[in-house]
């Protein structure tokens, strides 16, 4: 039987090269279109569900400002210090919206005694912070005398996020978000589930500021459940297994220290200017316009005209809508191409049976069973699909390597292609058998006589 199948395939490819090549090209390009559509569809669906999870039924605004370095310098200067602080206070107390400043950053660990020491000199629990970077994030570890840990600085109410839950310990209290003195700071922290083997609730992790050598103690007050996640201020899904969660605290003292040094340890989170530009304003959809109006009134009141609001949710909606549009366009092209290929394929099946009626008649008088005939027909179809898939792979590899087009192949798209190919192969086999059964064997044998 293998010999007969081989002959069939050889005859098809050699004697009907043009048809074979056309079919293979048609299917390859159809499959590319299907691939692109499915990849877009999966991406759009993921974005859609992420947006739904992240935004829910609320409107999110992001605060931004017009201008570059000189604007930053001016807005963060002493001249504007009071205005910025007023704006910050107004944002935090507005009844129309929630102020949220939760963002990812690194927690830097320094050796309190000597910043020139290598990482070998760090106390063991600090070195274990590297544990957090085992999964491809080692590039964060850029210096021998500093250790970095993935951290999330959170606003109050972080525990209200949908997918965050504690496995042990307790949430931050309101007072945890205020630091009244730069001396002997004790900050409560929550750890991701991956740190359970290294630390326990009540552990103290010592840190120090490199410039002023002030001690900072991080006190572990609990652990998050495995795979807790949230969407950060850039709307990126962040799984917190390997993160340290730190309150995004306010200070009750001047961050420009007596010796005029700038306390950079806290600056990223401590500086009010940073807290504004990293913040989100969250309100109900009905209050969106009023919240925006109120925000601009606050800007006017404080003469901070450089700031503005970006409506994240409407931007995301536009983006999702464009993704959807692109997916639909690709889908239409894919359907059209698949239809075109299937029409060609059906014509080929029909033509093949008509042209080879005599041969099939000979097979039948020689005692071919319907099962064998079925296998023969399937083999014919599979030849086309295997060659199409090979061309598809070559094209994907070449285009992707040339950075021209990556139409993406994943388990999902491969499954769909496999289903299409199987259905068409079965169709070809059943259609062929049906046609042959309907024909009189004598007619088949007398073909071309």
């Amino acid at each position: 039987m293998r010999s007969i199948i081989f002959e069939e395939i050889k005859n098809f490819v050699i004697n009907r090269t043009v048809v074979a090549v056309l079919l293979i090209i048609a299917f390859s390009f159809s499959f590319i279109a299907v691939n692109i559509t499915l990849t877009d569809f999966i991406y759009a669906s993921n974005e859609q569900s992420a947006a739904e999870e992240s935004y829910g039924d609320k409107t999110f605004y992001k605060i931004t400002f017009i201008g570059e370095d000189e604007v930053i310098n001016r807005l963060s200067s002493d001249e504007y210090k009071e205005n910025i602080k007023n704006l910050y206070d107004s944002l935090k107390t507005s009844p129309l919206f929630d102020y949220n400043c939760t963002f990812k950053d690194s927690m830097l660990f320094y050796n309190a005694d000597d910043t020139e020491y290598s990482s070998d000199d760090f106390p063991p629990h600090k070195k274990e912070c590297l544990f957090g970077y085992e999964e491809g994030d080692a590039d964060f570890y850029t210096s021998d005398d500093m250790l970095y840990l993935k951290a999330v600085y959170v606003s109050q109410g972080f525990e209200k996020e949908q997918h965050i839950e504690l496995s042990s310990g307790s949430w931050f209290k309101t007072e945890d978000f205020n630091v009244s003195s730069p001396d002997n700071i004790v900050l409560p922290v929550l750890l991701g589930s991956a740190y359970k083997d290294i630390c326990k609730t009540g552990d103290k992790i010592e840190n120090a500021h490199p410039a002023v050598s002030k001690a900072v103690t991080l006190s572990v007050i609990g652990f998050l459940k495995e795979n807790s996640y949230f969407y950060d201020n850039n709307n990126e899904k962040t799984i917190l297994n390997r993160y340290m969660i730190i309150p995004n605290w306010d200070i009750g003292y001047d961050y420009v220290l007596n010796n005029q040094s700038y306390d950079s340890f806290f600056s990223d989170t401590y500086n009010i200017f940073n807290k504004i530009v990293n913040a989100r304003i969250i309100c109900s959809n009905e209050n969106a316009d009023a919240a925006s109006e109120m925000f601009y009134k606050m800007l006017n009141d404080n003469k901070l005209y450089e700031f503005s609001l970006i409506n994240e949710t409407s931007g995301m909606r536009q983006y999702l809508s464009s993704l959807e549009g692109r997916t639909v366009s690709c889908g239409i092209i894919a359907v059209f191409m698949i239809l075109l290929s299937v029409v060609m394929f059906c014509f080929q099946v029909y033509y093949n049976i008509r042209k080879n009626r005599k041969k099939y008649g000979i097979y039948m008088i020689s005692g071919i069973t319907f099962k064998q005939l079925f296998v023969l027909m399937i083999a014919n179809a599979l030849t086309i699909f295997i060659l199409s898939d090979m061309l598809l792979c070559i094209l994907n590899f070449s285009l992707n390597n040339g950075m021209i087009l990556d139409f993406g192949t994943n388990d999902y798209t491969i499954t769909v292609l496999f289903i299409i190919e199987t259905l068409l192969s079965l169709f070809m086999a059943f259609f062929g058998l049906y046609k042959l059964k309907k024909m009189n064997l004598c007619t088949l044998l007398r073909e071309n006589e």
């Binding site: 010999s3 097979y363 020689s366 005692g367 319907f370 099962k371 044998l445």
Partner: protein, 218 residues
């Protein structure tokens, strides 16, 4: 000993055109029987019913004691493969395949081992004097050689019965006679033949002749 018998076989197409009307036929093992009649008389339909390509509307068809009208689908196909060889007017060879592959076709379908296939094909090709043509394709053969290749394919499974539908119809007289001599030689070795022909000369070379007219025995 009776190999097959058809009793009161009736066959119609579209329930209108009655092709066979209570047709009877009995063939013994080792016989060489000719069926003659004019075009459209129902000769080929008789062959189709015997081979199981078509089934009768009424009557009985017994082959080696089995009721053949009860067989269908793949059972009939396997019966055909094991018991019947076909020789047709226009040889019915696959054009792109070599003579070897054409002859070996029934063996491929039976999943015979390669070595066995080769032995059997070469032996039968030698017997029919086409062993030097095994690597040729049908287009490169003369009519006689092509028909011998078809005969080789028909008998490679050692079937009980060989059905020949106008086997000499596409050949010149001399070649036709050579083919009939081959049939006779095979017949003497025990193969049973039913030959459909409209040529009285060919019919005369058989053991007996069944005449058919308008679907009836005459």
């Amino acid at each position: 000993m009776s190999l097959l018998s058809l009793e009161n076989i009736t066959k119609s197409y579209d329930k209108k055109t009655l092709v066979l009307k209570k047709f009877n036929l009995s063939v013994d093992s080792g016989e060489m029987v000719a069926i003659t009649g004019k075009s459209g008389s129902g000769k080929s339909t008789v062959l189709n019913i015997i081979s199981g390509i078509e089934s009768a509307d009424n009557g009985r068809y017994i082959f080696k004691g089995n009721d053949m009208l009860e067989l269908s689908g793949d059972k009939m196909t396997v019966f055909r493969r094991e018991n019947i060889g076909f020789v047709l007017q226009h040889f019915a060879l696959i054009e792109n395949n070599t003579v070897f592959k054409n002859i070996a076709l029934p063996l491929y379908l039976k999943h015979e081992p390669k070595k066995v296939i080769k032995e059997k094909v070469v032996a039968i090709a030698k017997e029919l004097e086409i062993d030097k043509k095994l690597d040729k394709i049908p287009k490169q053969l003369s009519g006689g050689e092509a028909q011998r290749a078809a005969i080789a394919r028909a008998i490679i499974n050692q079937p009980s019965l060989i059905l020949a539908d106008e086997p000499t119809g596409a050949l010149d007289e001399d070649t036709g006679l050579k083919i009939m001599r081959i049939f006779r030689k095979l017949n003497k070795k025990g193969h049973t033949f039913i030959i459909v022909t409209h040529d009285p000369g060919i019919a005369a070379m058989c053991d007996r002749t069944i005449k058919i007219k308008d679907g009836k025995n005459i």
